[in-house]
Symmetry: C2
Subunit: 412 residues, 2 copies
C-alpha cells in the first residue's frame, strides 16, 4: 500500500502541473474509451454480478452494482461534463500589495492525492475519478469488493485516457486487493495521501474517521428539516414538503422531520398531513400532531434524530422559530434545512442562525446537490464545516497557496 501511495504521490506531482487542457482531454478520451470498450466493462460487470448474486447480495445492492448500456452512456456523459467544467487550478482568488511592496496572491492548487472510499457503485469510480483528475489530483479509488472487476476495467479506461495525453497513469489507481486490512494500511499514510473522502453509510464513515490519520471530509447523514413558519404560504408549504419527502426518499437531502408553527396546526398541518398520506408517507408525530392527524403514529425520542431514508416522516409542532432552530441544533446533522415563510424577518433569522451546509428559504431540501447548486458534479456532501461544507465539487478538491512577489525584501 505504501508503494501504491508513493506512486500516487509522484503522479500527483506530475498531474498537478499538467495543463488544464490535457487534464480535460484525458477525460474526453476516457469518455470515448467507455464507448469503445463498453463490452469489456459490461463483461467484467456481469462477472461481478454473478458472484454477488451467488453470495446472496440484496436486490437493492445488486441494482446499484449493475451496469447496462444506458448507465454506461450516462457515465460517459458525466466524464464529458466534468471535462467541460472550468479549470480551478491556477485561479488567482485574491491579490494585494503589502506596505513593504510585497505582492501577495492566493492561488488555487490541487490537494495532491485523494483517497475515495465507497461502496459497490461503479458510477462513483468514473465520476469521483474524473473530478480528482480535472482538479489536478491523483486519485486512489477504493470501491466495494463486489465491484472489483468492474472498477478495474473502468480505471483502465481512465488510465488510457491519461496516457493518451502523456499524463501519468498512476494518477488513477484502484486498490487491487479485496483484503480488508489494505484500508487500515492506507489510512495511516498521512505523508503520502492528503485527503480521504468516504462515500457511504454512517458506519463506513465512522470506521474511516476512527482509523484515519489523514484528514477526512465527512458526510455522516442527512437529518434534514423543513420548518413551516407562521407566515408560510400554504401552496409553497405543500409543494416543498411533498417534494422534499417523496420525490426520492432514499437520498441524504430528503426531508426527515417536518416542523410546523403552532399557529398553523388548524389549517396547514391537516393539509400537509393529507398530501403526504396520499403519497404513502407514514407520519410519526408529537402529541399535538397526533391530535390533528389521528391516523399518525406517536413519535418517540428516537424519531427526532432518525434518518429514515424511506417514506416515513417525523412531524413536530413548535411554538416559535426559536424553538424550531433549537430542535434543529439538537437533533439535526448540519446537512440541509429549509424554512417556508413569506415573512422576510423570519427568513433572515433562519438563514443567519441555522449553520447547516445548505439553508433554504421557500425551496426544497433536495436542492443540496452539486449539480443543482451549479458546481457541476460532486464527490459527496460534507456535513462538517472543515475544508468543505456542503457539496464537494472541484473547488473542494483544491487548496489555496500564497505566492509572494518581492524585490529583495527581508524582515527587520
Amino acid at each position: 500500500m505504501r508503494e501504491l501511495a508513493g506512486r500516487a504521490r509522484r503522479a500527483g506531482h506530475a498531474i498537478s502541473r499538467a495543463r488544464g487542457e490535457a487534464r480535460a482531454g484525458a477525460l474526453e478520451h476516457a469518455a470515448e474509451g467507455l464507448g469503445r470498450e463498453g463490452a469489456a466493462v459490461l463483461a467484467a460487470n456481469a462477472l461481478d454480478l454473478e458472484a454477488a448474486r451467488a453470495a446472496g447480495l440484496a436486490p437493492a445492492l445488486l441494482d446499484r452494482l449493475a451496469l447496462d448500456p444506458a448507465r454506461m452512456a450516462a457515465m460517459a456523459r458525466s466524464l464529458r461534463e466534468v471535462a467541460a467544467l472550468a479549470d480551478p487550478v491556477g485561479e488567482v482568488v485574491r491579490e494585494y500589495r503589502r506596505p513593504n511592496g510585497l505582492v501577495v496572491r492566493r492561488v488555487r492548487i490541487p490537494l495532491g492525492v485523494v483517497l475515495i472510499i465507497y461502496e459497490a457503485r461503479p458510477g462513483v469510480t468514473a465520476e469521483a475519478g474524473a473530478l480528482c483528475l480535472r482538479s489536478g489530483n491523483a486519485a486512489i479509488l477504493r470501491g466495494g469488493s463486489e465491484a472489483a472487476r468492474t472498477n478495474r476495467e473502468l480505471a483502465r479506461v481512465l488510465r488510457e485516457g491519461l496516457r493518451s495525453e502523456g499524463l501519468p497513469e498512476d494518477a488513477v489507481q484502484t486498490i487491487p486487493t479485496t483484503d480488508r486490512s489494505a484500508l487500515d494500511h492506507l489510512l495511516v499514510l498521512d505523508t503520502l495521501i492528503d485527503l480521504v473522502v468516504p462515500r457511504g453509510g454512517e458506519s463506513l464513515v465512522r470506521t474511516v474517521v476512527e482509523r484515519s490519520r489523514i484528514p477526512v471530509v465527512k458526510h455522516y447523514k442527512g437529518v434534514c428539516h423543513v420548518y413551516v413558519d407562521r407566515a408560510a404560504d400554504p401552496d409553497k408549504a405543500e409543494r416543498i414538503a411533498v417534494n422534499a419527502k417523496v420525490q426520492r426518499p432514499g437520498v441524504c437531502n430528503a426531508m426527515e422531520t417536518l416542523l410546523v408553527h403552532r399557529g398553523r396546526t388548524a389549517d396547514l398541518l391537516p393539509r400537509l398531513g393529507e398530501a403526504l398520506r396520499e403519497r404513502g408517507v407514514e407520519v410519526r408525530g408529537c402529541p399535538e400532531t397526533v391530535r390533528r392527524l389521528p391516523w399518525a403514529v406517536p413519535a418517540t425520542e428516537a424519531d427526532w434524530p432518525a434518518e429514515y431514508l424511506d417514506l416515513i416522516l417525523a412531524v413536530r409542532v413548535v411554538g416559535s422559530l426559536e424553538e424550531a432552530v433549537d430542535h434543529i441544533q439538537t437533533y439535526g446533522s448540519r446537512h440541509t434545512e429549509a424554512i417556508v415563510t413569506e415573512d422576510p424577518a423570519a427568513a433572515r433569522e433562519f438563514l443567519d442562525r441555522v449553520h447547516s451546509s445548505v439553508v433554504l428559504v421557500n425551496a426544497s431540501t433536495r436542492f443540496n446537490d452539486g449539480g443543482e447548486l451549479g458546481l457541476g458534479a460532486e464527490v459527496g456532501i460534507s456535513t462538517s464545516p472543515i475544508h468543505c461544507f456542503g457539496p464537494m465539487g472541484l473547488e473542494g478538491l483544491t487548496a489555496l497557496k500564497y505566492q509572494v512577489l518581492g524585490d529583495g525584501q527581508v524582515r527587520e
Copy 2:
C-alpha cells in the same frame, strides 16, 4: 470532558449569532481587564514559575512561561489588534442565480468549537482565545500544565470580557485538570468539537493526529528552502539568505536548506558562505559545497530533511531549477520556499511548481507569518493543504455555508 465540551457547543451556538461589535467589545474589555487585573495574573504566573523551577524546567522553557509587565502590555495590545480586525462572520463571498431562479449565496460562518492545544506559552491563551472569539467560535484552551494557574487567570479575564457584553462565558474554557488523559477524552468528541489546532513540537502534533477523531489543522515542521537560481542578483541573494537563516533561527519559517545553482558556485556560493559564517552559522554541505567552502562540515542524508531551529544550515548545489524543485518535493515540509532570481520565467516556474503553503520570489522565508501577510494574527501555520494552508488567521477559523433563496422551487 464531555460536559465541558457540551457547554462549549452551547456557548458556540450563542456566540456564533452575537453581533460582531459585541465579540470585538468583549476583547476590548478583556484588554482593559489585563491592565486592571495584571497583579493577579502576575501572581499566578509567579506560582507557576516557582513550581516549574522546582521541577527543574529548562531555562528556555521558563523564559517562555514567564510574564512581566511588558509581556502583559503586549498581550493587551494583541487583544486590541484582534478586536480591530474586520469581522469575517456574515461575509457574502459569492452570490449567483440559477436558471430556475434560485439565488445562491456563500456566507462565512464560525466553525463552532475549536480546541487549541499548546505548550507553556501564556501568550497563546490570550491570542488564540481572542482569534476564536473574534470569529464567533467557542474555544477550549489546553495549555501546558506548567502554566495552569496563569492560563486560568487569563481565561478569567477573557470570560469577564464576554460577560460584560452579555455573551456566554463558556465560549472560553481552559481544561481545569492537569490529567493527561483529559486530552484523549476530548479528542474523540467529534460531535461536540469541530477543529483541533495543536501548536507545538512535532511529537505533540503527531500524538494529536494519531488520537483525534476531530479534524486537525497540522503544523508539523518548517524545513524551509531558499533556492539561489542561476539568474540570482548577488545582493538580494545575500540579504535574503542571511535574513532567512539568522534573524530568528529558532522559528518555523527560518531557512534550513540553501540550494545554489551550479552556475553560481564560483562567485555567489563563497560570498554567501562567508556572510553566514561571519554570523556564526555552521554549514553542512554537499561535496561540491565543501569543495568551495573548505571550512564546511560534510552533510549526511539526515541533514536534508532536518529542521535545525538553530544556527546550522544545510547547503546543496543543484544543476537546475528542476533539480531544486525535486529536492524540495523530496525533503521539504510544504511550509515555505523562496527563489532568488532575476529571470521571470524561472520565477514563474518555481511559483507554479512548488506547492508549499507560501512560495516567494526574491523575499525572505520569514514572511510566512499572519501579521506579515496581512492576516492580523495567527493561530498557527498549517503545512497541510486541507481547510487552511499557511498562516491560520480569522478566515481559517470560519467555514462557508450555502444560503438559497427561493420562491417555492422544487426538484422535478
